[in-house]
């Protein structure tokens, strides 16, 4: 089973990387008003049960992949057919 975890700086937290990207995009002439830079973690899981996989992913995010104080996370589970 494959999963993708998206980690984002929480709303309201200044994201200097996003600011820098925004500035560069605007300099290139793109009509962009905001940019936030996060992180993508692609995982291949041994779990075959999606409920178990989701529970494991939650724990991975809480314990390591995200810092809950400053980052939010989103889990996308890809069910293989």
């Amino acid at each position: 089973m494959r999963a993708t975890v998206l980690v984002r700086p929480k709303p309201g937290i200044l994201d200097p990387q996003g600011e820098a990207v925004l500035g560069s995009l605007q300099q290139l002439g793109f009509a962009v008003d905001a940019a936030r830079v996060g992180r993508v973690v692609d995982l291949e899981l041994r779990d075959s049960d999606s409920g178990q996989a989701r529970a494991d992913l939650e724990r991975m995010c809480e314990q390591l992949l995200a810092n809950p104080l400053i980052e939010s996370y989103e889990i996308e589970l890809v069910q293989e057919t």
């Binding site: 937290i13 200044l14 200097p16 990387q17 820098a20 390591l64 810092n67 104080l69 400053i70």
Partner: protein, 236 residues
């Protein structure tokens, strides 16, 4: 007549990617301690009442600075020492590790400038009643170098109020902070006061050859406290 003072032992942890461990050990030795090197994979600490987590780039700063070092085997006994009232000082990357490990409040993020900053910075001592700043006076101005890319201390507004109210902000950047830290925070202690983290590098400021010797006030305070703790472990 004074008794020759015993050398307190202070452990200095080396993670893969630590690079200030030797400077920290050297500074501690010069301030009268016996620095005991400890490897990240060690599952126990030597007989010490104080440990320093040094600066550097543990585990390449992968994921988030300090996020992986937090799971190093040595962090178990460090955690136990802290819980038992022992002294833990995290410098720069060590500060990041302690925040990630939940031994200190807050988090450290990329500098607002997105640039690595390496220079002497002026600091104000906000709290001189900690084992790490007892040689300072409240309001004292120190000059200690910083060198980091991720030193922007973050605490949400609720946590910030709590830290300020409980006197956990120990060091503050004077004037403009080099990294955008909330409230100019350069160093904090935990609620119990026995764990401290700071971004500036006191171990690089102990010899007039390299400029300021104000770092000796911080590390010297730690050595004093380690000596007291060794003599009477219960009365840190």
């Amino acid at each position: 007549m004074t008794q020759p003072e015993a050398k307190p032992r202070v452990a200095v942890v080396t993670f893969p990617g630590s690079n200030d461990d030797r400077d920290a050990a050297l500074a501690l030795e010069r301030l009268g301690a016996e620095a005991v090197p400890v490897w990240h994979a060690d599952r126990e600490l030597p007989d010490v009442r104080a440990v320093v987590l040094p600066g550097g780039f543990s585990y390449g700063d992968y994921l988030r600075a300090g996020a992986l070092a937090r799971f190093a085997p040595v962090m178990e006994p460090v955690r136990a020492l802290a819980a038992d009232g022992g002294l833990v000082l995290g410098i720069c990357n060590g500060f990041q590790v302690l925040c990630e490990a939940g031994l200190l409040p807050g988090a450290l993020r990329a500098n607002h400038s997105l640039s690595f900053v390496c220079r002497d910075v002026p600091l104000t001592v906000e709290g001189a009643d900690t084992p790490f700043t007892a040689r300072c006076t409240p309001g004292q101005r120190l000059s200690i170098p910083v060198k980091h890319g991720e030193g922007c201390f973050f605490a949400d507004s609720e946590l910030l109020v709590e830290l300020e109210a409980s006197g956990q902000v120990v060091l503050r950047y004077e004037g403009e902070s080099p990294n955008g830290s909330v409230a100019g925070i350069a160093g904090v202690v935990n609620a119990e006061g026995n764990v401290m983290g700071l971004m500036p590098h006191p171990e690089h400021a102990v010899d007039p050859l390299t400029g300021s010797t104000d770092g000796a006030l911080v590390l010297g305070s730690l050595v004093d406290a380690a000596r007291r703790a060794t003599a009477a472990p219960a009365a840190v």
